[in-house]
């Protein structure tokens, strides 16, 4: 039983970070109706920024959130403005052109990092990396708790932005109906640029938070892109609450899979859940609540 609770707890904690990855993805998917297959790679870039700041300036990974998030926001804005938006006006055989573009972008980002840093595994060892508190035999890893709390705070800020500010309302309006939003005087093109920037910044936050408890190499982006879309589909397309629930569910499922099946099949658990959801519950968890 203790093992089960321990597994469950660490699943929820890692789920908080997954939720951040998923939130960025779901924002982009909601507004632009495309799957961003460069999402994990953007997160990987943020991790390298954090890593470089730690290595050369000895900046704490949590503090470098303040650098990584704006930097990735900027990268996201540039990608959307100069690479993805122009494709909207191009006639092509496959409608998935933007998705394929994100594949190319992800590949280039990975290769740039590999070019600069080689394929070696890197990690950030802070004084608190392996410290933990115990609560009735269950251990709580400190960096994971910190990451979870920061993730919660960032999520709360996103909700404030989406629900209370004009700009946030424009984002939601564009997600609901792009044409209607245009008619209401919303600059939909600018909103897509903003959204991609925000989505990238969220991926950046997840990357910086993950770094103290994880390791780093150029190909780390791919698996996280997969996780991001598993979360998004699980939660329901474009649903922010769904992304949070989806992130936590995936975290717990992977954690249980690693304990009770095998470490190697951990990722397969996520994929199987994903397939089942796609086939039997195409609307995701959102469809169950009718919100």
């Amino acid at each position: 039983m203790e093992v089960f609770i321990q597994t469950f707890v660490s699943g929820i904690l890692i789920g908080g970070i997954y939720a951040l990855v998923g939130l960025g993805m779901t924002l982009i998917m909601g507004v632009m109706k495309i799957i961003n297959l460069a999402h994990g790679q953007l997160m990987m870039i943020a991790m390298y920024i954090t890593f470089v700041l730690f290595e050369f300036l000895h900046l704490d990974p949590y503090f470098s959130l303040l650098v990584a998030m704006p930097a990735l926001f900027l990268i996201g804005v540039l990608i959307q403005k100069y690479l993805l938006n122009p494709l909207l006006n191009v006639d092509s055989i496959l409608p998935e052109n933007q998705v394929l573009m994100t594949v190319g972008i992800g590949m280039v980002l990975t290769e740039i990092i590999r070019f600069l840093f080689q394929s070696d595994y890197k990690s950030v060892k802070t004084s608190y990396s392996s410290s933990a508190v115990y609560l009735g035999g269950i251990s709580f890893n400190i960096p994971m708790i910190v990451a979870f709390l920061i993730a919660l705070a960032i999520t709360a800020m996103l909700f404030f932005f989406l629900l209370k500010t004009d700009m946030g309302k424009s984002v939601r309006a564009t997600a609901q109906n792009r044409d209607a939003a245009l008619l209401m005087g919303i600059n939909a093109e600018w909103i897509t640029v903003l959204t991609y920037g925000l989505g990238s910044a969220f991926a950046a936050a997840a990357g910086s938070l993950l770094l103290p408890i994880y390791y780093l190499f150029p190909d780390i982006g791919g698996p996280f892109t997969l996780k991001a879309f598993v979360i998004t589909i699980l939660g329901g397309l474009g649903s922010t609450v769904g992304a949070i629930v989806g992130g936590v569910v995936l975290g717990v499922a992977e954690s249980l899979g690693a304990t009770y099946l095998s470490m190697a099949l951990k990722d397969a658990v996520g994929m199987v859940i994903f397939l089942l959801v796609l086939i039997f519950l195409p609307g995701g968890l959102k469809a169950l609540t009718k919100v």
């Binding site: 799957i35 590949m107 070019f115 598993v230 190697a264 086939i279």
Partner: protein, 326 residues
């Protein structure tokens, strides 16, 4: 009709004479790999370019073919060449099963589902050690020392694959495929069973990809799950090869395959030793940049947007205005 076929005949003749004229194992190897990608790219193109089902999971069929050949050796103690016969049909059966699961989804959802299935295959092949040898991989002994038998075999397969695509696309099936790509609902209302024809397209596609996988096993003599079931180096490369050349064209994937392999090889060898060594580390980066460039400026690929490529060369302003309205 005959006069229209001469470019294909010339290309085939050049490719047949190439290894005899060049007599270099290195260049023959490069061309063998390029021809293998012609098969994979063309197979992907039939499913995605003509039928509109963008698959991110062709590594499933490639890996299945490769493992069929490999398992012939490790489990049945017969030659891996039997895999060339069995690889295609086994991959086809796997394709049928995957189609049965994934074809209930459309567009981007289908793409995502194929990624998921591909990853499951890779993980299972990694974990199921008793059956697949896991990460240890399967090592066999190459039958031929010379590269020539492999070269002519893969050239033949690539020619058959391109020819079959050509015939299928011009048959009734081909028109059904394109109808489904353009508008599935309209196609169904015309009495075309979308599920049946998507499955047919997937069957042909997975069959050829499986054969390419079996060939890879025979030629490279070593496979492991992370190579043959790789999302990035097989599934996505198959897509990019077709995109660069042009989806929905007969010759697009073939051209794309040669561009991909030759470009990467040029950079991997640092322009054949002319440039400093660090250039070699950028070989995938350069290809990625080319992909972004092609999608951004030539959405239908080099063959599909050939008129645009021609315009780059000709300074004729008239051409710009007449064929500009795309």
């Amino acid at each position: 009709m005959k006069s229209k076929n001469w470019p294909a005949i010339i290309v085939l003749a050049v490719l047949i004479l190439f290894p005899i004229a060049v007599r270099s194992d290195y260049y023959t190897h490069v061309f063998i790999i390029a021809l293998m990608w012609v098969i994979i790219g063309s197979a992907w193109n039939l499913l995605a370019g003509y039928t509109g089902q963008v698959s991110f999971g062709h590594a499933i069929f490639f890996g299945t073919g490769a493992y069929t050949a490999g398992l012939c050796v490790t489990k049945l103690q017969i030659s891996a060449w039997w895999g060339m016969l069995l690889g295609g049909p086994v991959a086809l059966l796997v394709g049928l099963l995957i189609g049965w699961i994934c074809f209930r989804l459309r567009g981007p959802y289908f793409a995502l589902a194929t990624i998921a299935v591909g990853e499951i295959f890779r993980l299972v092949a990694t974990v199921w050690r008793n059956f697949t040898e896991g990460m240890q991989g399967i090592l066999i002994i190459q039958t031929f020392r010379s590269k020539l038998p492999y070269y002519y075999l893969v050239l033949g397969l690539a020619a058959v694959c391109v020819y079959v695509t050509y015939r299928v696309v011009r048959s009734k099936w081909g028109f059904y495929f394109v109808a489904i790509r353009e508008d599935q609902d309209a196609a169904e209302s015309m009495g075309i069973s979308a599920f049946r024809y998507k499955s047919l397209s997937l069957m042909i596609s997975s069959f050829f990809t499986g054969i390419a996988g079996a060939f890879y096993m025979n030629y490279m003599a070593f496979i492991d799950p992370h190579v043959v079931f790789s999302l990035h180096y097989i599934s996505i490369m198959a897509i990019l090869v077709a995109i660069i050349g042009g989806v929905g064209t007969i010759w697009g994937p073939a051209v794309g395959a040669f561009i991909m392999v030759l470009l990467q090889e040029t950079f991997r060898s640092s322009f054949f030793g002319l440039f400093p060594k660090w250039v070699s580390e950028a070989h995938i980066l350069v290809f990625g940049l080319l992909v972004i460039f092609v999608i951004r400026y030539m959405a239908n690929g080099i063959i599909g947007d050939w008129s645009k490529v021609q315009r780059l060369w000709s300074k004729d302003k008239e051409l710009l205005t007449t064929s500009g309205g795309n």
